[in-house]
């Protein structure tokens, strides 16, 4: 079907366009060790580096874009700066500080300065100890929601930032703003990835 061909082609094109930025960010990562290459609105430099390093560990660049390729870190900074109230902002600040203090206590450095192996160890531990999100119905979480903690809520924000980015939404996930028909039981193979909308 022409439509499927078109979709595949779109996928290939997406691959082509992301190859360059991901190489580019690889080159930049050396620079990241000393200072950020973007100016945060809300985060301090250490906080921003922590968020970026977490996103990069959770959603690394492979043959598809990573979280940093779609600037999920910069977006989260903007969201916290512009949509959080003062209390929410302070909570975020405290949570990052606590997270880094724990990294420092156990591994001797704040998260962005840890080796890849130590970063992995930190996140494995965080995965095991963070409660999960209850399911939602029509935008409301059901049941008694345990506080999910900093790690899982940051992970959730990172995935949100990643999935709702234009690059992911239009070129990597399956995109169809005007589906026209509703096809109730279509082979997944004909759709490909998760729908972006």
């Amino acid at each position: 079907m022409d439509r499927r061909k078109a979709l595949k082609k779109a996928g290939l094109l997406a691959g082509a366009t992301i190859a360059m930025p991901s190489l580019f960010s690889l080159l930049q990562s050396c620079k990241n060790e000393t200072r950020l290459d973007w100016q945060p609105e809300f985060f301090t430099e250490d906080e921003a580096k922590t968020i970026s390093a977490l996103i990069d560990t959770i959603l690394p660049t492979t043959d598809t874009p990573g979280g940093l390729d779609v600037k999920a870190d910069m977006f989260i900074d903007k969201v916290v700066a512009q949509t959080y109230d003062a209390e929410g902002q302070q909570n975020m600040r405290n949570a990052i500080a606590e997270f880094n203090a724990s990294c420092k206590g156990k591994y001797g450095a704040i998260f962005p300065e840890l080796s890849d192996a130590d970063k992995t160890a930190v996140l494995k531990e965080a995965e095991a100890s963070s409660p999960k999100f209850n399911p939602g119905v029509w935008g409301t979480t059901v049941g008694d929601q345990q506080p999910v903690g900093f790690y899982r809520s940051l992970k959730s924000m990172a995935i949100w930032a990643y999935f709702t980015s234009e690059e992911m939404g239009e070129n990597v996930l399956s995109y169809d703003p005007i589906p026209g028909t509703f096809e109730p039981c279509k082979p997944l193979s004909e759709v490909g990835n998760r729908w972006s909308l």
Binding site: T83, E127, N134, G143, E183, P184
Partner: protein, 566 residues
């Protein structure tokens, strides 16, 4: 703006005035205009012209600076409504400003309002079901509230009439408790919904699971386009594919040349002339200039939405009606109802991993009421009943996966597992002490008294909710779902956005505000056909009934006008 004459000041006298332009106001305007009456529609908020004024209709998440998130200032503006979970950047402009329009909650109540041309017809869920005699006879049978002055046979032709024009899609089932509409072809169930349907219907006699009956066009209809399955309905539909005043009734009213719509018109009161013994017009405040203006007409339809309609009538005092227009019974503002909401169950469905869907169907499944519909289904725990809405979809929260890194990232690009949920809507009894009253201590931006709302769900609603959750869990477990989780997000009334009953219909002027044709008993040229008029609440969505009652009342109004009876 070519289609609407907003320069209403020149002409102060009309044949008819309609207060409000939402679902029922729009129908009143259409019917009155088509019957040749020069009609003035007074709208509290701005003009929203179909398509032209749907600024967010084509936005993708990345087109919004915070991808749907709101700033603290925006949240503050909707500080009450935000509890509903419905307000996002894509629809924020269609929700009323809670700061400019305060109300007081004696007991918690969420009052959701849409102050613009089209009102909440731009925001509603579009589930459309006929009521049956099970509903219209309920009060008479169990003694709660007063008897409806009408029966199904009185409204049946008007259901058909409005359905043919509005376009309702659905599947005919022949159930007595949920009469079939005049249907366009139904939307389809997805594979998991079909699977769950089979298992529920096989294991539970008398329980059916059907596709929702909705005011969405599944084929082109009356010059409007069919649904494109974008599911961006609450931003306004550029195809006119769902029923809204903006796309359907107001353009029809306008086509007659008899319609004038005046935006930014805050109706203060219906003017009652003691000497003439009838209402003679409506007083407004211009929301922008604060100018007070009186408009005159022969008949008045008050369709401001349930609470605002009662508010206006309570504010309309005269020698004859010291406690509010038409309030001889003392029932004005009382008997406030809503449906319970957010109680049900959710679970996971194994299998079907190779199946997905295409299109964002703006509709789900419906399980019609099955309790207390006959002797066999009688419950000793509660009166009346409930129905479920819900649906199956591939979701899963990737943040819950105990994984991260390259393989994790690859896996979440694929859709998550199948989930299926049902959530109940239970009938709320009409309690006299669930009420609203004028609050002269808290004034709005225009110096007018606001409303105090004092309502709660009581024992019967709580018993219904308990059964909703128990049945939901049992049905989903029996259907083979995994990790089934029942829930009851206990919440106050208002969340269902089905507020009803504050100017109820009835047979007896001593116990009701309106008669069987929605006329104020003692001021027969004043009609109320929005949620305020409802005598009981059924458990099914009420909007279709407002439409049918409005068309019926408008027909009666014009006929009475011609006979010089009003």
């Amino acid at each position: 703006m070519a289609n609407f004459n907003i320069d209403a000041k020149k002409d102060m006298t009309y044949d008819a005035i309609v207060v409000g332009s939402g679902i029922s106001g729009g129908w009143a305007a259409k019917e009155l205009c088509e019957k040749g009456l020069k009609t003035l529609v007074l709208e509290r908020g701005p003009i929203v012209e179909h398509v032209v004024d749907y600024p967010t209709m084509n936005w993708d998440p990345w087109d919004m600076e915070y991808r749907g998130g709101l700033t603290p200032e925006e949240k503050k503006k909707h500080y009450k409504n935000i509890r509903s979970g419905w307000v996002g950047k894509d629809t924020e402009h269609f929700w009323a400003d809670d700061e400019a329009n305060p109300y007081t909650e004696e007991k918690p109540f969420l009052w959701l309002r849409g102050h613009q041309m089209g009102g909440k017809s731009l925001l509603w869920g579009k589930q459309t079901y006929r009521w049956s005699d099970l509903d219209f006879e309920a009060n008479a049978k169990d003694g709660h509230g007063v008897d409806w002055p009408i029966r199904y046979k009185d409204i049946e032709p008007w259901y058909t009439y409005v359905e043919k024009f509005a376009g309702i899609s659905g599947e005919a089932l022949g159930l007595p408790q949920l009469p079939d509409s005049h249907f366009l072809p139904p939307m389809e169930l997805n594979c998991v919904e079909k699977h769950v349907k089979e298992r529920i219907e096989k294991n539970f006699e008398g329980r059916n699971m059907i596709i929702g009956r909705v005011a969405h066009l599944t084929q082109p209809h009356n010059g409007r386009g069919q649904c494109q399955n974008r599911n961006r309905c609450s931003r306004g539909c550029p195809y006119g594919a769902y029923f809204s005043s903006n796309a359907v009734t107001l353009p029809a009213a306008n086509a007659t040349g008899n319609l004038t719509i005046r935006p930014y018109s805050i109706v203060q009161e219906v003017i009652y002339d003691d000497a003439k013994g009838k209402a003679t017009g409506v007083r407004i405040i211009d929301a922008e200039t604060n100018e007070v203006i009186d408009y005159s007409s022969k008949i008045i339809f008050v369709n401001a939405s349930a609470l605002s309609t009662a508010h206006i009538l309570m504010n309309s005092t005269s020698k004859r009606f010291e406690n509010g227009l038409g309030n001889d019974s003392g029932e004005l503002g009382h008997n406030l109802m809503d449906h319970t909401y957010r109680v049900g169950a959710i679970g996971k469905v194994d299998g079907f991993e190779d199946k997905y869907y295409k299109g964002r169907r703006p509709n789900g499944i419906y399980i019609p009421r099955y309790w207390n519909i006959d002797e066999k289904s009688k419950s000793d725990k509660f009166l009346r009943g409930f129905g479920y809405q819900g649906g199956g979809y591939r979701g899963g929260n990737p943040a819950n996966e105990e994984s991260f890194g390259a393989a994790f990232k690859d896996s979440i690009l694929k859709p998550g597992g199948w989930e299926f949920f049902i959530t109940g809507f239970a009938e709320c009894l009409p309690y006299h002490d669930n009420k609203i009253s004028l609050n002269k201590d808290v004034l709005d931006k225009w110096g007018q008294p606001t409303l105090t709302i004092d309502a709660e769900f009581k024992e019967n609603e709580k018993a219904l909710n308990k059964q909703i959750q128990e049945d939901a869990v049992e049905m989903l477990e029996t259907a083979g779902l995994k990790d089934v989780m029942g829930f009851d997000k206990e919440h106050p009334p208002g969340y269902g956005v089905h507020e009803m009953g504050t100017a109820r219909m009835g047979r007896d002027p001593k116990t009701s505000v309106l008669n069987g044709f929605n006329q104020v008993h003692a001021a027969k040229n004043v009609f109320v056909t929005d949620g305020a008029c409802m005598t009981s609440s059924s458990c099914v969505n009420p909007s279709l009934t407002y439409m049918a009652l409005t068309a019926r009342a408008a027909d009666h109004a014009v006929s009475e006008l011609k006979k010089f009876n009003i």
